[in-house]
Symmetry: D2
Subunit: 351 residues, 4 copies
């Protein structure tokens, strides 16, 4: 089968590799839609190390091709969505309700339950082996197309997760720093949960426009205003919730500075290098602040819930798809996505 | 009346000042017991600025001497405990359930609802004016002595608050960094909430002994072992909760390094300077970690609850009182406390 | 001043009574808008006893006329909304965060902190004395009219409260039994909080139409279908949340029968007589069910939050006002409301 | 192998049946300790129907004898504890964190994830087939004996669960109705979570003595006092939490009557027939009450946590074992347990 393989930093290849076979508790799906994620760019650039030879990609939509022993209640040919994170449901972390940290309760590194395109072969291929299939194959309702669900696997689950971890309450004020795909989904999630004022921050006017479409009441271009002062003015002294969706010192710090005492910083970014907590913005530790981080929630029940929000018209992820390419064109997709050409948001790949 | 007044950095004086008079919603109590807090040392040393002329101290036990208009349900002569933080109960923060951040929801600095010995006269005196008395005068049961309740005003409320904010669950593993008075109360709080393994960390062998008495299963002297490695070994890969009770980069960072993915860092320390979040210990933001900070909960209901724990024998704060002095000897008390003489923990002051 | 006074069962009178005067911690407002509540009908019919001579009504919008000693931060002439429940903020219940049960933590009957038109004079008059004014006067933003905020005092706060107490999560399925004013607000609240499927139940086609306008995805007329079966079919086995907004055995029981195992019944109704929990619907106590009840949340911060939702366009209560009368016509208003004439929902009264 | 088989109401038999064989995802354990549960008596008496021929019992301790395909990380010979409820970890209910309702999210009857001795063969036998073994085999630390852990499978997990679902907070007042094995564990759980006043209610003086030993501050014999009045007096107006551990109208109703407004009724009993909610005790629905029910939490992580509490000396279940018999004597055990002979609490069975 055709697959996108990591060879070395700055070197991806579309090559033929053997089709996977389902073992106990596993399934093989034929991929019908997938996308390229920012994390894939980190892998391509060598910033996040994976083993040479690995098939990458972690946002799979497909059709069940083979079911291993012990997987019940599915039929060959069922259309399914699989989350980017694939919890087993049966380890210490999963049984504690921390599905995203599957397999991580025992002293290993905290990259959580993320396996596709990280520790096992991923989704940018014609076929995909799904581990712990019983916990991870989510049937797609007939009323929904592949395009309508593929972005739920990672960016919507993560973005909404940032709003949920912040425990947004009716009437909260929320500021979301960075309006890339995940930040846009955090904006939409804050809207879905009942925030009364949502402020989207970015410097890309196209993204700010999409933010307003998805739920932001106000957008701020940080190149044209003093964001912290403006947020404090708009919220009457500080936001209830600040969501970080980029992964830089500047946005993390600004989140803290935008919060009222007792407020919550919900962090979604992936950080590198030292991260500072300015002690003044942190009120010297006396501000009853809360900082929470969220790794993309996965599992078939999470995917079912997200699909129900699309099905009932609460959320439409399709506007986030800016480009559509075939698997054969995926290297071109990486170029477009990496260079942020043409107001790119997400690139849909169909094998 | 006699009162301990801040004159200038490194200059406290025991002088005579006018007795306060109760206005609308206020009360005056005659102090019968109070103590010296670590924060008072920061004030004395000029590290935390207050206005010259201010009476300091914020841990008051006394007898009602005068009740202003609008304060009901109390009688002159009632013995009362007042928390270090005095919420009004009627502002935006209080009505949101964030009593410690009283008056702070509107853009002012986040020092929370702490007023005694900070923005108004405090408790190291013969008399004390209590603001918002209806919300803050907690009657002391006859069965409890002044000594049994005075430490509830601040250190027990704060220390227990650190355990409560961490949301400790039955069977959790908890590590508490620093076993000063607040850390010791956090240790006791973790025990009260049902942690199955509590690890106390300090370098003072006397404090580690008190920690074992108050609920630590294991104590670690950081001068004699690699604390992070040891905690990870004892907890089988990382603690569920790490409580910081000192306020330094080292202890904050070690807390993070001791946590399992999905664990909670509950911070009680008062930090100065830049505080770093090592991105590796923070799992680059992907560890589903939670960082919470807690300012001493106050108000009469909080004090009533804490007193009920002492009354039923669940917690005995008296062993934390290492020295007993009269108000006239308070400057000597500051010397003992500041120099950490003779295994000092808390100095009781009785006017 | 003119006021609506309860004389005896079935006997209200619009009479002249002395204008109130503000004491310590109190304020007097000149009423500019109020409404008639279902509870007022219970009082009128003698089903809920109040003292003869009492001014009734508990949904006040007005202008500050007088401020008593100890009330700060307001000016004569400020437009304010006051919640139906007026917490003091300073008693045991309030300081525990249970503002609706103000004053009730000590063995008295549980009618909560509801005082207007219940234990003290109410809002269907030209002037109103507001107790604990510091905690209860919520300034109305200039951008909002009286009509836009008057229904927040009780029905929106209660209806939204039913959704909030149920802890509705993104993607939940919710059924709301009865689409009177409170049920309609519960429907709107469920929509605001991110439910993916909201089912409204009633027998009045006009109310079902309003329900669809306010957020119901599906409405069921219980006269034309088997509601429990239909809900179980639509939700794939049982709703996550069922909200009771009427107060009868039938609706309470149907809520339970509609729930999935582990689901939540959020009860807003006022019940009379014996209420049965069918043991089969209750899974013999083994279904991990949760039953929560909610009394209208009050206080100025609650009102501020609700007004922020109207201001940002998230919720428009004006369509719930079906009739507009002057205070002089209030007895006619009671007749219209009591007889459910002309698709009546709420009757606005302007002195 | 020898096994205790249900033949018909009032007819159990100890007979020889084929030893089970482990399929995909399953394990076989050789039972080394088990007990008889009150539910087994309901089965024996025909009050809870199971299929004739079923092996009963659901509290298994044993040694791994066989591991099916797909079960990893265990070795033949490992000592393990298995919970009474055996969640799969991979269905909709499990992935939503409601492990006790495993397999029940889809319209089937709510008996939750209870399978042993209910829908599949149980533990009162020489060997036991464990379904979803990966999620359910909890290794027993060497330091703990079989006797120390066998009661964790059901009664401690259920009793503690009642305290946990009530969300007991530091300083809460708690009343526990009925001090049978589960009520005693609820009493111990309330103590572990930091309640400041725990009141145990029963009529059996021996059980009340054990209650005081396990954590009750006060015990009330309902034959000698008016329990509701006494609880309201001791708690100053109503308990924060009332736990029902019997399953009768009288105890359920008394729980409600003992609560303060805003209090929580945590129900553990198994009810039969109609259950009434007296509308007065329920405050007509206006008391902000919460009623929660809890089915025994299961899974290997739950068992690990409970074992950690025994290992650290927080809880000692051994005093609850009043009788010790061999599997051959189990019918005698049923007689003793059923007749409540000789202060029986729990009967230990060792094959």
């Amino acid at each position: 089968m055709l697959a996108t393989v990591f060879r070395a930093p700055h070197k991806l290849a579309l090559v033929s590799v053997p089709r996977p076979v389902a073992g106990v508790g596993e399934a093989v799906i034929r991929i019908t839609a997938t996308t390229i994620c920012g994390t894939d760019l980190h892998i391509l650039r060598g910033e996040y190390p994976v083993a040479p030879g690995l098939v990458i990609g972690h946002e799979p939509v497909g059709v069940i091709e083979e079911l291993g022993p012990g997987v019940h209640g599915y039929s060959i040919g069922d259309r399914v969505l699989v989350g980017a994170i694939t919890p087993c449901g049966q380890c210490r972390a999963c049984l504690s309700g921390q599905l995203s940290q599957c397999g991580q309760g025992h002293g290993t590194k905290a990259i959580g339950g993320w396996r596709f395109g990280n520790t096992i072969n991923g989704a940018q291929a014609e076929y995909l082996l799904v581990p712990d299939a019983q916990a991870n194959l989510a049937p797609i309702p007939n009323s929904l197309s592949d395009e309508q669900v593929v972005l739920l696997a990672d960016i919507a689950s993560t973005g909404f997760g940032g709003a949920e971890s912040a425990n947004i309450k009716l009437g909260d004020t929320v500021v979301v720093f960075a309006q890339g795909p995940i930040g846009l989904c955090a904006t939409a999630g804050a809207r879905l949960m009942g925030a009364s004022l949502i402020i989207g921050v970015d410097s890309d006017e196209h993204r700010l426009e999409v933010a307003r479409h998805l739920g932001a009441d106000v957008t701020l271009n940080y190149q044209h205003c003093h964001v912290v002062e403006e947020v404090r003015r708009l919220t009457g002294g500080g936001a209830d919730v600040a969501i970080e969706a980029l992964g830089t010192q500047q946005t993390f710090e600004n989140c803290l500075r935008c919060l009222r005492p007792g407020g919550t910083l919900s962090s979604l970014g992936v950080y590198s290098g030292k991260l500072a907590l300015p002690y003044d913005a942190f009120a010297a530790g006396l501000g009853d602040h809360r900082i929470v981080t969220t790794l993309c929630p996965g599992g078939k029940e999470r995917m079912r819930r997200l699909m129900s929000l699309v099905e009932s018209g609460r959320f439409d992820p399709v506007p986030l798809i800016s480009h559509r390419l075939s698997l054969k064109e995926i290297l071109e997709g990486y170029r477009i996505f990496g260079d942020k050409q043409g107001s790119v948001l997400k690139v849909l790949i169909t094998p």
